[in-house]
C-alpha cells in the first residue's frame, strides 16, 4: 500500500509519483537478486541521478533540486521500501556532498558541486577506521602539508561505496590534538595511492559495497582541503546530523515494507480454520508495528522541519535515528514472526529486511552513541 503523504507542494507530489514509478519498475524487481549476489546496481543509481535524485536537498544554483529536507527524506523512504541499499546509496551520496556545500569556499562550491550533484558521480564519506569507530576523534590517518598539496596516509575502514565511489570525503589528522586536529579532504577516486580493498562480506545490505581504503601517500592539491585545518570533526559531526535523518527515513521505509508484507500474509494465511489476521494475538502485533512506523515517520519529519526552518536539530536527529532504527529492528523481527517458518526462508523478503534493519542500529553512530548525544544535550541545557 502506498503511504498517504502530506507534502508541501505540487512539485513534491509529482516528485514522489516519479520516485514511486522508479521504485516499482526499476528497484523492487531487482533488489532480492542483487542482495543475493552482493552486486551494487551502479547503473540503477545513475538512472536515479539522471532523474535528479542525487542532489535533491541542495540549492538549485549548484545543480541541486532545491527541495526541503522534509521532501527529500520522504523520497528516501519510498526508495528504501523498494530497495534499502539503493536508498542508502542516495543518502550516503547526499552526505558526501555536505562538507563542500556547507563548509566549502565559493570557489570550491562552484568547481566541485555541479558535478557532484549532477547525477553521474557517486560520493563516499570516510570517517571510521578499524580502531576508531564510536570514538571518531581517535582516528589515526594523517595528512601532511607539502608545498601546495597535502599527502594523505593511513587506512580508513567501513567506507560505503569504497571501490565504487568517484570521490571520497576523507577525514585525516593534521595535528595530534584529539578534537581540533582533524581535517576534511575531498579526494578523487583516481588519485594515485588511493587503494580500495576487497569489500566486506556482510550479513545484510550486501548490494551496498563497504570497504577499507588504504591511503598510500595520496597527494591532493591544497584546494581539496574543505574548511580550515582542524575543522574536520565539526564538519564530520554536522554532516552526520543530516545523514542520521536519512537513515531514519530509510529505516522507516524498510519497516513499512515489512509491515505491508506481514499484513498481506496475515490476511492470506489460514490456521484453525480462519485467517491468522483474525487472531487478536496477530492483529495486535500488526497494530504495534504500524504504530511504531507512524511514530518513526512523524519523528523524522518533525526533525526535518526544524532543519528546514533553520532551527538546531542535532538532538532531534539523534532521537529520530534511535527510534526509527530500533523500530525497524522490532518491526522486521515481528514480520518474520507473523510469517512463521516461511518468514525464516529466503522465499520471502522479510528475513532480508531483518538483516538489513540490524546495521541501521550501528552505522552513522550506534544507537548507544545516539543516546550519548541526546544525554549530553540534556545536560548542556540550562
Amino acid at each position: 500500500m502506498p503511504v498517504e503523504r502530506v507534502l508541501p507542494s505540487d512539485e513534491a507530489c509529482e516528485l514522489i509519483n516519479l520516485v514511486r514509478e522508479l521504485a516499482r519498475d526499476e528497484l523492487a524487481p531487482h533488489a532480492a537478486a542483487h542482495e543475493e549476489r552482493a552486486e551494487f546496481p551502479r547503473e540503477t543509481v545513475r538512472l536515479l541521478g539522471r532523474a535528479g535524485l542525487l542532489g535533491l536537498a541542495y540549492p538549485e544554483e549548484y545543480g541541486g533540486g532545491g527541495m526541503p529536507y522534509e521532501v527529500y527524506l520522504q523520497v528516501l523512504e519510498e526508495l528504501a521500501s523498494a530497495w534499502a541499499a539503493v536508498a542508502l546509496a542516495v543518502s550516503v551520496h547526499t552526505l558526501s556532498c555536505y562538507p563542500v556545500a556547507a563548509f566549502g569556499t565559493d570557489e570550491q562550491r562552484k568547481s566541485f558541486l555541479p558535478d557532484m550533484l549532477g547525477g553521474e558521480l557517486l560520493g563516499a564519506y570516510s570517517l571510521s577506521e578499524a580502531m576508531s569507530g564510536s570514538d571518531a576523534g581517535s582516528l589515526q590517518a594523517r595528512a601532511k602539508r607539502d608545498g601546495d598539496s597535502y599527502v594523505l596516509s593511513g587506512t580508513k575502514a567501513w567506507v560505503t561505496h569504497g571501490g565504487t565511489a568517484d570521490y571520497y570525503n576523507v577525514f585525516c589528522r593534521t595535528s595530534d590534538d584529539a578534537r581540533g586536529g582533524v581535517s576534511t579532504f575531498l579526494v578523487p577516486a583516481d588519485a594515485d595511492g588511493l587503494l580500495p580493498q576487497a569489500p566486506e562480506r556482510k550479513m545484510g545490505l550486501r548490494s551496498s559495497p563497504t570497504a577499507q581504503i588504504v591511503l598510500d601517500n595520496v597527494r591532493v592539491p591544497a584546494d581539496r582541503l574543505i574548511g580550515n585545518e582542524g575543522d574536520g570533526m565539526r564538519i564530520a559531526l554536522s554532516a552526520l546530523d543530516g545523514g542520521r535523518l536519512g537513515i531514519s527515513a530509510i529505516a522507516t521505509g524498510l519497516a513499512q515494507s515489512a509491515l505491508d508484507a506481514a499484513v498481506a500474509w496475515a490476511k492470506e494465511r489460514q490456521q484453525f480454520g480462519q485467517r491468522i489476521a483474525d487472531f487478536q494475538g496477530v492483529s495486535f502485533l500488526l497494530a504495534d508495528m504500524a504504530t511504531g512506523i507512524e511514530a518513526a515517520r512523524a519523528g523524522y519529519l518533525a526533525a526535518a522541519r526544524r532543519r528546514d526552518t533553520g532551527l538546531p536539530y542535532g538532538p532531534q536527529a539523534a532521537m529520530s535515528k534511535l527510534f526509527a532504527t530500533d523500530t525497524a529492528m522490532r518491526v522486521t523481527t515481528d514480520a518474520v514472526q507473523v510469517f512463521g517458518g516461511y518468514g525464516y526462508t529466503t522465499e520471502y523478503p522479510v528475513e532480508r529486511y531483518l538483516r538489513e534493519a540490524k546495521v541501521m542500529q550501528i552505522f552513522e553512530g550506534t544507537n548507544q552513541i545516539q543516546r550519548l548525544v541526546i544525554g549530553r544535550h540534556l545536560l548542556s541545557l540550562r
Binding site: E11, E14, A51, G52, G65
Partner: protein
C-alpha cells in the same frame, strides 16, 4: 523537423477497468489515469529525432480535464508544448469520431511528422493511425520498430509477424510505433519543474473547428449495445500424467476447440 505526438490518457493498467452503467462508456473518473504505455515510446522517439535533427515536439491530447496530468508527464519528459482538445461534447467519441477530432486539431499545429503508439491499452483497436492518415492525406508508416529521418524522407522498419519491411515516405507522414523501438526515458525532477512553464493550449470544439454532430456518443458510428462482467475464473482441470498425459491434453484442447 516539427513533430506532433498524439498521447492518450488511459486507466492505469494495474487497476480494474469499469464501464459506466449510464452510457456504457469507460469510467475514466474512478480510476487513476496514466499515459498509454505505447505513447511513451512515441514521445521518446520524437524526443530522439528532435535531439538529432532539431525542431519542436508538440503533444496533442484529446480527453477530459484530468488528461492534463498525462500531458504534463510528456512535457516533463522533454516535449516543448502541448495542445489539449477538451470539450464535454467529445465524451463517448468512438475511433472514427476521435480521428476526425484529432485531424482537425492537427490542422492547428504546424508539423512535418505525427508519431503515435500503435494502440491504446483501453480500447486496443489500433485504427487511429490509419484513420488519421486517411483524414489528413499524410503518408502512413505503421508498426515502426525503427525510424530514420533524412531531410523530408522518413524511413521505417515496419514490424511484421516474420521480420520487418522497410517502408519509406515523404513528409507529412504519420508514424505509429511498437514498443521494440526504444526504451522510454523517465522524466527528471528538473523536467517536472520545467514542464510547468511550457505552453499548453486548450482547444474547444469551436476552437478546433470540430462539428459537434460528428463527435461524442451521438456523432459516433459505433456504440456499445450491451456489456457484462467477465465471469469469475473457474477452477482449472488437473490432468494427471499416467503415461497418457499427452493424449489427455490433446483431448482437452480439442474439447475446447483450440486444436
Amino acid at each position: 523537423m516539427n513533430i506532433v505526438v498524439c498521447v492518450k490518457q488511459v486507466p492505469d493498467t494495474y487497476e480494474e477497468k469499469k464501464l459506466s452503467d449510464a452510457d456504457k462508456t469507460l469510467d475514466r473518473e474512478s480510476v487513476e489515469g496514466v499515459m498509454n504505455e505505447l505513447d511513451e515510446y512515441a514521445v521518446e522517439e520524437a524526443l530522439r529525432l528532435k535531439e538529432a535533427h532539431g525542431g519542436e515536439v508538440t503533444i496533442l491530447t484529446m480527453g477530459p480535464e484530468k488528461a492534463v496530468e498525462t500531458i504534463r508527464k510528456a512535457l516533463s519528459m522533454g516535449a516543448d508544448s502541448a495542445v489539449h482538445v477538451v470539450d464535454p461534447a467529445l465524451h463517448g467519441s468512438d475511433a472514427l469520431a476521435t480521428s476526425y477530432a484529432l485531424a482537425k486539431a492537427l490542422g492547428t499545429i504546424e508539423h512535418d511528422l505525427v508519431i503515435l503508439g500503435v494502440e491504446s491499452t483501453d480500447a486496443r483497436m489500433s485504427v487511429i493511425p490509419a484513420m488519421l492518415a486517411e483524414r489528413t492525406g499524410a503518408a502512413q508508416l505503421s508498426f515502426a520498430r525503427k525510424v530514420e529521418v533524412d531531410g523530408s524522407t522518413v524511413k521505417i522498419e515496419r514490424q511484421t509477424d516474420t521480420g520487418y519491411d522497410v517502408v519509406e515516405a515523404q513528409t507529412p507522414a504519420i508514424v505509429s510505433v511498437v514498443e521494440k523501438i526504444n526504451e522510454p526515458r523517465y522524466p527528471s525532477f528538473k523536467g517536472i519543474m520545467a514542464a510547468k512553464k511550457k505552453p499548453l493550449t486548450t482547444l474547444t470544439l469551436a476552437d478546433a473547428g470540430i462539428e459537434a454532430s460528428n463527435v461524442g456518443l451521438s456523432g459516433s458510428g459505433t456504440s456499445v449495445a450491451e456489456f457484462a462482467a467477465r465471469p469469475p475464473k473457474q477452477a482449472g482441470t488437473i490432468v494427471k500424467d499416467e503415461g497418457d498425459g499427452g493424449v489427455k491434453l490433446a483431448e482437452f484442447l480439442a474439447s475446447q476447440k483450440i486444436i
